[in-house]
C-alpha cells in the first residue's frame, strides 16, 4: 500500500480522497492554487502545497508542478480525481515515468477508450451495440443520402470538431438532408474552423444509463450495477440514481455485461464508467467510456456498500479486488442531487460568492459530500458544485420522501443554488413515475 498519496484536485473530490486515504492509513497531500489558499478541507490533509495561481491553467492543470509537489512531499502515488488531468494519458505517463503511481487506468487503455472512434471499434468487435453512424467523418464524395438511409431517419449531423452538445443538427427525412448537410458544414467551418462532419442515428427521447466498473491489475473486472443520469440540462447531469427506474431487468443485465466485455477488451483496470443511451424500445447503444472516477460515484457506493475510492487506491497499489462479481448484490435505492451555485430562476447562471450560512440536512439514509461550510467561498474560477446530497432507502418511494425532506431542510445562504430546481424536479409526475428521458428538464423545468 502507498505511504503517501498526492491529490491533484480540489474541493469536494479532494476531501473525498483525503478521507479514503486516511481510512487506509495512507497520508494525504493536497495541492492548491492561490484561489483555494486557506480552504478548510486543506487543513484535513497531512500537508498542502501551493502549486500556482487562480486559473486552472496556472495550477491544477500544471502537470510539472503537480509532479514536483509529489516529489518534494515524498508521495508515491497521485490521485487525479475527476476533471483537470484525470483523463490525460500524457499526465499518467509522466507520473509513472517519475516513479509515481497514477491512481487510474493505464495510459494505453485511457487512450484506447478515450478516443471515440477506437472505443467504437472495440465495442463492435465484442458485440456491444453502438449508435449507428458513419465510421469517422463523412468523406468527400461519399453518398450521404445512402448512408443516412442505412442508418435510418432521424439522423444527426455532428461537427467532428464540435463537442459539449455544440455543432449538431437533426434531419428528419431524406428530402431535408442535402440542404441541412450544407448548412451544417458551413456552420462547423465558422464555429470550429473545420467543416468535417459525421452522421449518427438520432435516438429520440433517450435515457442516459451508465455502468460502473472496477477492475484490478490481475484481470478481475466487476460491474457494480448501473446509474440513471437522464435528468440533465445541456448535457450537465443534475440528478443521478440507482437502480434505473427507466429500464427492464433484462436490459440492465445486458448493459452491465456489455460494459464488462468492453472493459476486458481494452485491458482496463481501476474505476471506470461505460455510458449508454437507451431508446424507447429498450434498445441500448454505447456512447463513451469515462476512464476516471465520476462525480456521481456515491450513488453506487450506497447500493453496493463498496468504497470506490479506496478500491481505486488498492488496485493502483497492485492489490487484487477483495470481491468478485458474485459477491456484488446491489440493494436499495440511492438518489443524488448536485447542489450547484447556480440560479435556476435565471437560466442557471453561476452564483459564486461566500456562503454565510450552510446547514445541511441529516438523518437515516442521508449522505452529504461537500467541502462547504459557513464562510466558505465558492470561486468563479472552478466548477459550481457546492455539495452532493445523496439519499439511500430500501425503495425508490422512500428515497424520494427522504430527498424531499432533505431539500426542504437544506439551507445555503445567501447565494442562489439549484435546491429549488431539485424540489420541483422530484415533484414532477414524470420523475415520480420513473418514466423520463433526456428532454425532461427542458420540457418541464425551463
Amino acid at each position: 500500500m502507498f505511504r503517501r498519496v498526492l491529490i491533484a484536485n480540489r474541493g469536494e473530490i479532494a476531501l473525498r480522497i483525503i478521507r479514503a486515504c486516511h481510512e487506509l492509513d495512507v497520508e494525504a497531500v493536497c495541492v492548491f492554487s492561490e484561489e483555494d489558499r486557506g480552504a478548510h478541507y486543506l487543513s484535513l490533509a497531512d500537508r498542502a502545497i501551493c502549486i500556482g495561481g487562480p486559473q486552472p491553467l496556472d495550477s491544477y492543470l500544471k502537470s510539472d508542478r503537480i509532479i514536483a509537489a509529489a516529489e518534494i512531499a515524498g508521495a508515491d502515488a497521485i490521485h487525479p480525481g475527476y476533471g483537470f488531468l484525470a483523463e490525460n494519458a500524457a499526465f499518467a505517463e509522466k507520473c509513472r515515468a517519475s516513479k509515481l503511481e497514477f491512481i487510474g487506468p493505464s495510459a494505453d487503455s485511457m487512450r484506447l477508450l478515450g478516443d471515440k472512434a477506437t472505443a467504437r471499434s472495440i465495442a463492435k468487435k465484442v458485440k456491444v451495440p453502438t449508435v449507428p453512424g458513419t465510421d469517422g467523418i463523412l468523406e468527400e464524395g461519399e453518398d450521404a443520402a445512402k448512408i443516412a438511409e442505412q442508418i435510418g431517419y432521424p439522423v444527426m449531423i455532428k461537427a467532428s470538431a464540435g463537442g459539449g452538445g455544440r455543432g449538431m443538427r437533426i434531419v428528419h427525412q431524406a428530402s431535408e438532408l442535402e440542404e441541412t448537410l450544407k448548412q451544417a458544414q458551413q456552420e462547423a467551418q465558422g464555429a470550429f474552423n473545420s467543416s468535417e462532419v459525421y452522421l449518427e442515428k438520432f435516438i429520440e427521447k433517450p435515457k442516459h444509463v451508465e455502468v460502473q466498473i472496477i477492475a484490478d491489475q490481475t484481470g478481475n473486472i466487476v460491474h457494480l450495477g448501473e446509474r440513471d443520469c437522464t435528468v440533465q440540462r445541456r448535457y450537465q447531469k443534475l440528478i443521478e440514481e440507482s437502480p434505473s427506474p427507466n429500464i427492464e431487468a433484462r436490459t440492465r443485465r445486458d448493459l452491465c455485461a456489455a460494459a464488462v466485455r468492453l472493459a476486458k477488451a481494452a485491458g482496463y483496470y481501476s474505476a471506470g464508467t461505460v455510458e449508454f443511451l437507451v431508446d424507447e424500445k429498450g434498445k441500448f447503444y454505447f456512447i463513451e467510456v469515462n476512464t476516471r472516477i465520476q462525480v456521481e460515484h456515491p450513488v453506487t457506493e450506497m447500493t453496493t456498500r463498496i468504497d470506490l475510492i479506496k478500491a481505486q487506491i488498492s488496485v493502483a497499489a497492485g492489490e487484487p479486488l477483495s470481491f468478485n462479481q458474485r459477491a456484488i448484490k446491489p440493494a436499495g435505492h440511492a438518489i443524488e442531487c448536485r447542489i450547484n451555485a447556480e440560479d435556476p430562476e435565471h437560466g442557471f447562471r453561476p452564483c459564486p460568492g461566500v456562503i454565510e450560512k450552510f446547514r445541511p440536512p441529516g438523518g437515516l439514509g442521508v449522505r452529504i459530500d461537500t467541502y462547504a461550510h459557513d464562510g466558505c467561498r465558492i470561486s468563479p474560477r472552478y466548477d459550481s458544485l457546492i455539495a452532493k446530497l445523496i439519499v439511500y432507502q430500501p425503495t425508490r418511494e422512500e428515497a424520494l420522501r427522504t430527498l424531499k425532506r432533505c431539500l426542504r431542510e437544506f439551507v445555503i445562504e445567501p447565494i442562489k443554488t439549484t435546491i429549488p430546481f431539485h424540489e420541483r424536479a422530484i415533484a414532477h409526475p414524470e420523475f415520480i413515475e420513473g418514466k423520463f428521458d433526456t428532454g425532461f428538464v427542458e420540457r418541464n423545468l425551463s
Binding site: L42, R47, I49, G52, D64, A68, E71, A73
Partner: protein, 161 residues
C-alpha cells in the same frame, strides 16, 4: 546561555502574527521554533548550540506533526519593512548554488538586477535557474539549501535601490 525571556517573546510574536515557523541563528547558537498546527497555540521548540547549516525544523516523516504552510512567514517581514520579495515561480527543491562546491549565487548584501540568476529550483531532475525580476540588495535569504519550496513562496527579501 539561552535567554528564556527572548524565547518567550518570540513565542508570543509567533502566536500573535500566526506564524508557523521561525529560525534564528546568533553566532554559535541556533533556535528553531515551530508551531505544529495553527489550531494549537503551543509551539514546540528545538534548540541547538553549535555552528552548522543544519537545524531545519521540518521533518518529513509519518511521526512528524502536520505542517500546513498557509502563510509563509516572510510576508510578515516584507510588509513591515517595504522590502521586495522574490517568490518561487514553481514547485521544487531550492539550491543556493549551481553545485555543492560553488559559492551561493547571492548572499545578504549581494546586488541583484532583473535577469540575474539568484538560485536553482530543481523539479523532476531538471535544474531551473531562477532569475530576479527586481533590482536592489539582498536583505535576507528565506529558504535553506536543499529545502522544498511551493509556488509563490518568498525566497529572498530585497531592499530596493
Amino acid at each position: 546561555m539561552l535567554d528564556i525571556d527572548k524565547i518567550k517573546k518570540l513565542i508570543e510574536m509567533m502566536v500573535s502574527n500566526d506564524l508557523i515557523e521561525i529560525s534564528l541563528r546568533d553566532g554559535e547558537e541556533e533556535v528553531n521554533l515551530r508551531r505544529p498546527n495553527s489550531r494549537l497555540d503551543v509551539p514546540t521548540m528545538s534548540v541547538q548550540p553549535g555552528a552548522g547549516m543544519h537545524g531545519a525544523a521540518s521533518n518529513p516523516g509519518p511521526a512528524a506533526p502536520p505542517a500546513v504552510a498557509e502563510q509563509p512567514n516572510g510576508k510578515a517581514d516584507a510588509a513591515a519593512a517595504d522590502l521586495l520579495e522574490i517568490t518561487s515561480p514553481m514547485v521544487g527543491t531550492y539550491y543556493a548554488a549551481s553545485d555543492p562546491d560553488s559559492p551561493p549565487f547571492v548572499t545578504p548584501g549581494s546586488q541583484v538586477h532583473p535577469g540575474l540568476v539568484v538560485c536553482i529550483l530543481e523539479a523532476m531532475k531538471v535544474f531551473n535557474e531562477i532569475k530576479s525580476e527586481v533590482a536592489g540588495t539582498i536583505e535576507r535569504v528565506l529558504v535553506e539549501n536543499g529545502k522544498p519550496v511551493e509556488f509563490g513562496q518568498p525566497l529572498f527579501l530585497v531592499r530596493p535601490h
